[in-house]
Symmetry: C2
């Protein structure tokens, strides 16, 4: 909270504010008439509406959304909580969310969870409840049980985007990470790779765990298992370090690495090609996850498994809008399908 202001100061700085009452006086009508003229579907005559709108334009009036929210109980704001934006998947999602919500008359209040401390991250969400947002999208973060309960109590619909907290957890929209990763395993094995390693996404996240589990399962179905597995923490630097460890000793080097997301995979590729001077895919094949735009850029040309981001965002928005209109609508947990995208970082060997 900033310094308190002396009494008159506020009034002064707001002196330019034009209210509905000013319009009313200017137009010689009642204040409620002005309100109606600015309310979709209110019962106003055409003449009245035109008269008010004209006056409003003349003195530069615009309704105060906050005052409206106070009474309607709807702020037309949706909170989007996100942990970081360096993985291109999230700016992309954010842009889509923002456009989709804007089209529906909602605006996004954005919250970046403070780095490191999970406790602080939770505090941010509490703060956000004070803003009377109509809904919350939690992208790639998990919320404590206490917190999700609070959201429920406050009646604000909450939707987890790209995270899942169990069958009894909050509503969520994800893609089928388990089977996506399983599909990658199948592909790698059938293409002929035999020494397969994994740099996982963060094990503390549902996506990270699901992808790892699915991948192991996929290998197991061929009687195989990982030759190496390390936690990349969804962090480029960490993943690069893991790649160095994995590949620096030739005798232990895997012939294929599944990296938990594209963002890390780009770093891994840089290490393999430019630090260790290995050929991709001849020496080591690499597969990512997400299919962010840069995965298709020729410098990377990364084989990956797509997350249907457009569909995921649209589903999230639609679902949230529904819950906002029908607060007692039961939760839903949507799991969408992606597909394997074959590019240059994996080869086409003979099936052994």
């Amino acid at each position: 909270m900033r310094k308190k202001r002396i009494g008159s100061s506020r009034r002064q700085s707001r002196s330019t504010r034009v209210t509905s009452l000013d319009v009313a006086r200017h137009a010689g009508v009642s204040q409620s008439a002005v309100s109606r003229a600015f309310t979709e579907g209110a019962s106003v005559s055409d003449a009245m509406s035109k008269r008010v709108l004209k006056s409003a334009r003349e003195i530069g009036y615009r309704p105060n959304v906050l005052a409206r929210s106070l009474i309607t109980g709807r702020s037309n704001m949706v909170a989007l909580v996100v942990a970081y934006l360096d993985n291109q998947f999230y700016p992309d999602a954010l842009e889509r969310f923002s456009r989709a919500f804007q089209e529906q008359g909602y605006h996004i209040l954005i919250f970046l969870t403070p780095n490191g401390s999970d406790e602080k991250a939770q505090a941010v969400v509490v703060e956000l409840l004070d803003y009377q947002v109509d809904g919350i999208v939690a992208a790639s973060i998990s919320l404590s049980e206490r917190l999700t309960r609070r959201c429920q109590e406050s009646g604000i619909p909450l939707l987890l985007f790209n995270r899942h907290q169990g069958k009894d957890g909050p509503a969520s929209v994800t893609s089928d990470n388990f089977n996506g990763a399983r599909r990658i395993a199948k592909f790698l094995v059938e293409t002929g790779y035999r020494r397969i390693a994994h740099i996982s996404g963060w094990r503390g996240s549902s996506t990270g765990r699901e992808r790892e589990d699915g991948f192991r399962q996929g290998l197991a179905e061929y009687g195989m298992s990982l030759v190496d597995c390390r936690d990349g923490m969804y962090d480029r630097q960490v993943a690069m370090e893991m790649a160095r460890h994995m590949c620096s000793i030739e005798a232990h080097r895997p012939d294929a690495i599944f990296v938990g997301n594209d963002h890390m995979a780009f770093g891994v590729l840089d290490v393999l090609r430019h630090e260790l001077n290995l050929r991709v895919p001849e020496d080591v094949a690499v597969v990512g996850y997400d299919d962010v735009e840069a995965a298709s850029w020729k410098s990377y040309d990364l084989t990956t498994f797509s997350q249907p981001i457009a569909e995921m965002v649209d589903t999230t928005v639609a679902e949230l809008l529904q819950r906002m209109e029908t607060p007692d609508k039961p939760f839903s947990q949507t799991r969408l399908q992606g597909e394997l995208i074959l590019r240059g970082t994996t080869g086409r060997r003979e099936k052994t």
Copy 2:
């Protein structure tokens, strides 16, 4: 605007809402006492404060910031208007803005200007004024004069980030694009390049124009001029197309291209290396602008001119906070310095 609700429905859906009056009753104190307990620096006794806070916790009360805003005239929200997020420069800036403002107790209401229509973009800003935001950061968009006047009239401080609209325009924070580009020209000429081309940023933007002008000026100082110049529109696809045109005929091929930003430069590099099979920098050297993180990634390893993004964001935030506290503070237009970052996409030839 959504469907109207019947009278009781709103009350019902909000029935969970706990007000300060509820706390007051529960604690057996006045409603204003509750308000004070939640106001930094208000005159409340310790005993009263504790008592209220305890009651509040017991019945799950949190102050309604919207109601507070209505009376204080400050919403603690800052609007950030941005055109797109695929150039990593902007998510990076957004993340920094969000964290910086959050630290000061402000939150960001984000607005993505609709694609294409400039008119719609302006409409978005008008809409945003209705939200009583305390300040506006316009990142990489320009506003019509009428609009900036409206912002001024409504008393909401406006700051242009990475855009400039002339000495008499709104307050702005930019980097010295002109001299940055001029420095690049100097470097290229002195390194020995002689057939120098430019794929400009969008000519409709101040950064695009300033970089082009500075670059031309830099060349002129050596008695040189551009062998080719095309507008890349700050769009990766467009820039790639321009690169194809520029370089497909060997006889006309430049030996160095300055691309208006890194985002486009990555696309240009992909074209040169993977479509036209040219060597960079041996056949064609490439220089970008911004120094986004990916420029340092080994797959690109792009020579570029840095924009001091951290400093730019910090300056913008500080400046805006000041203007919010002192509405009559005079405008300032800050222009920060970056530096030439030499990497692998330019060679070190003999000076001719």
